[in-house]
């Protein structure tokens, strides 16, 4: 039995900060936690590790965190597309491995190396092709995505081994590829970028508010909007200022930021993005509404593999080499765990790019912090597993809250 939600009057009442805060609190109590748990989690992680080892919150380690998070954040953003559909992609780890190995081999100075740009395009196209293959088998043949991508996990692992062959390890020597994760932006330029980002964000808010007011629709209170813009400005300023105390903002971090903005736009402001959520929420309803469900699914798996390849390239760049283990280990399950920790539902229809980004930051902070404490990778995996379980439990409990308030 669904209970009638409390009715609120619309109009002027919504425009006060108090009413806005009250609505937010009702949502939280009703189980719509948003990014709240993960931000609390990040603060707890920072406090715990800083008290154990005062190197955790230094500028140098902060830049390390960005560099380490970047590849997993990229892969996690990709796998979010599969998770939003209620599907899964287990192959992302080794698909990222294929990306890393492919770029390393294509630009390796062995006499017949490719130019950097065509090599990049070829790798990313390979990513799209791999996703297309997965997507076609899932939609047209009807094999569950779990099985298709499990087969992919094995097969792409094999491809990594075949590509590496007897070489064992390939050292990256291409300046551009290595620079991706190991070069840093000029401090002055990073502040210009900061101004552009905050300006654009404010402009978007301003135009939205103006067009909504023109159409006679309620807007969020001005104070809240200013707080949002101010919040972004403060966070970005802290990130840039701290990073500039050390080596500067890594290019891989800027790439992650750009991808984040792009995919968030795609998911929330385009028809395709709307259809992704719709298919994840109710496939039959989407089909009846005239949405080409197969097309949406295939595109999602293509984006997933594309981002995996890109993440693999960044990872290879950070490690400056690829070997037979590329794509295994952390690249396999960290991204899925990151998306889920961030609050993306495995049942589809709920999740954001922000979840992937913050989730990856949590995973890597734990990994990095435990490393600073000199703990073994055994301990790392146990702790990370515990955090994943905790995050999903929190999601389940909050979902129970939603069910009780009729939002299941």
């Amino acid at each position: 039995m669904v209970t009638e939600p409390p009715l609120e009057t619309e109009g002027p009442a919504r425009d006060t900060v108090a009413a806005y805060a009250r609505r937010w609190w009702t949502d939280v109590k009703g189980g719509e936690l948003g990014s709240l748990p993960i931000i609390v989690g990040l603060i707890i992680i920072a406090i715990v590790f800083q008290t154990q080892n005062d190197r955790f919150l230094t500028a140098s380690n902060f830049v390390n965190l960005i560099v380490q998070t970047a590849p997993y954040a990229v892969i996690a953003m990709g796998v979010t597309f599969a998770l939003l559909l209620g599907e899964i992609d287990l192959s992302i780890g080794f698909v990222s491995g294929v990306g890393g190995v492919l770029i390393a081999l294509l630009v390796a100075p062995d006499g017949n190396e490719m130019a950097t740009l065509p090599a990049f395009i070829l790798c990313l196209a390979a990513g799209l092709g791999i996703g297309l293959l997965h997507g076609l088998i899932i939609t047209k043949v009807g094999v569950p995505s779990f099985v298709v991508t499990l087969a992919g996990l094995l097969a792409w692992n094999g491809v990594v081994l075949l590509l590496i062959g007897s070489r064992g390890t390939v050292i990256l020597q291409n300046d551009f590829v290595v620079g991706l994760a190991n070069d840093f932006m000029d401090p002055g330029l990073s502040w210009v970028l900061f101004a552009v980002c905050v300006g654009l964000y404010a402009a978007v808010h301003f135009f939205t508010m103006r067009s909504r007011a023109k159409a006679g629709l309620a807007n969020d209170p001005l104070v809240i909007v200013l707080l949002r813009i101010g919040g972004l400005a403060v966070i970005l300023a802290i990130v840039i200022a701290v990073a500039n105390q050390d080596r500067g903002v890594p290019y891989s971090g800027i790439l992650v930021g750009g991808l984040f903005v792009f995919w968030t736009y795609v998911l929330t402001r385009t028809r395709f993005g709307r259809h992704v959520y719709a298919v994840g929420g109710n496939q039959e309803a989407s089909r009846r509404a005239g949405i080409n469900v197969d097309r949406v699914k295939i595109l999602c798996f293509m984006f997933c593999s594309f981002m995996a390849v890109l993440g693999g390239i960044i990872l290879a760049s950070r490690l400056r080499s690829v070997d037979t283990n590329t794509g295994g280990g952390q690249a396999l399950l960290y991204p899925i765990a990151a998306a889920v920790i961030g609050g993306t539902s495995l049942f589809g229809g709920r999740g954001t790019m922000k979840a992937a980004l913050l989730g990856a930051l949590v995973m890597i902070s734990i990994d990095n912090g435990l490393g600073l404490l000199g703990l073994s990778s055994g301990t790392k995996f146990v702790v990370t597993g515990g955090v994943l379980l905790l995050a999903v439990s929190l999601d389940s409990i909050s979902r129970r809250g939603r069910a009780q308030s009729g939002r299941a």
Partner: protein, 258 residues
Amino acid sequence: MTDTPVLELQGVSKNFGAVQALFEVDFHVSPGEVMALVGDNGAGKSTLIKCIAGIHPIDGGEIRFNGEPVSIHGPKDAARLGIEVVYQDLALCDNLDVVENMYLGRELTDGVRKLDETTMEAKARETLKGLSVTTLSSVRQTVAGLSGGQRQSVAVAKAVMWNSELVILDEPTAALGVAQTAQVLALVKRLGEQGLAVILISHNLHDIFEVADSITVLRLGQNVAEFKRTDTNQQQVVEAITAGKLSKVPGQNAEAVA
């Protein structure tokens, strides 16, 4: 109310293999008319609306829309004519909000292929207001948080938003409580008052006598009676549902009947 029916079916038949689901059914509904379609389980109500909605092709007979013979080959054909069906399971996405659901699959975009949220929200509110759906606290809340009656209202609003001429409601009150049923029935009445043709499928005679202008009774795939609500009573309708005179007895050949 004009004399030309919006939708007119003449002698429509439909077979599934050896099973004759519909046999020479005549049916019509006019603008501003709420036509109830009743019958026992297996009488062919669902098959009939699926034929109208283009999900099943018809095997015989003719469908006329606004007097013109039409052939409906798929849900898209039906939608193009202005026929919208609200299915029993509503076909809403729980994770999307009211506006997103109402525009699902037909989202408006602006010049740069960006979703035009402002226009969509304004128009959705207008449509809901036109139907006097006032119980929603916000059109930006997710459908999951709505009551059964509110969900039904959203599904109906979604159907009438597209300049549709004929709205088919499949058991709209089946899963609802008393207050919510009243809410939905009032909505059905308003659809008729706005000049739309409405086909209402229901098992609940009480509901039907509250809102329908006319009642068509199906029995074993044939239409056995048609009543004006004002000229009949529940007793007569029940008799027609259970024992209406058939022109053809199932299981016998047409020759045997002739």
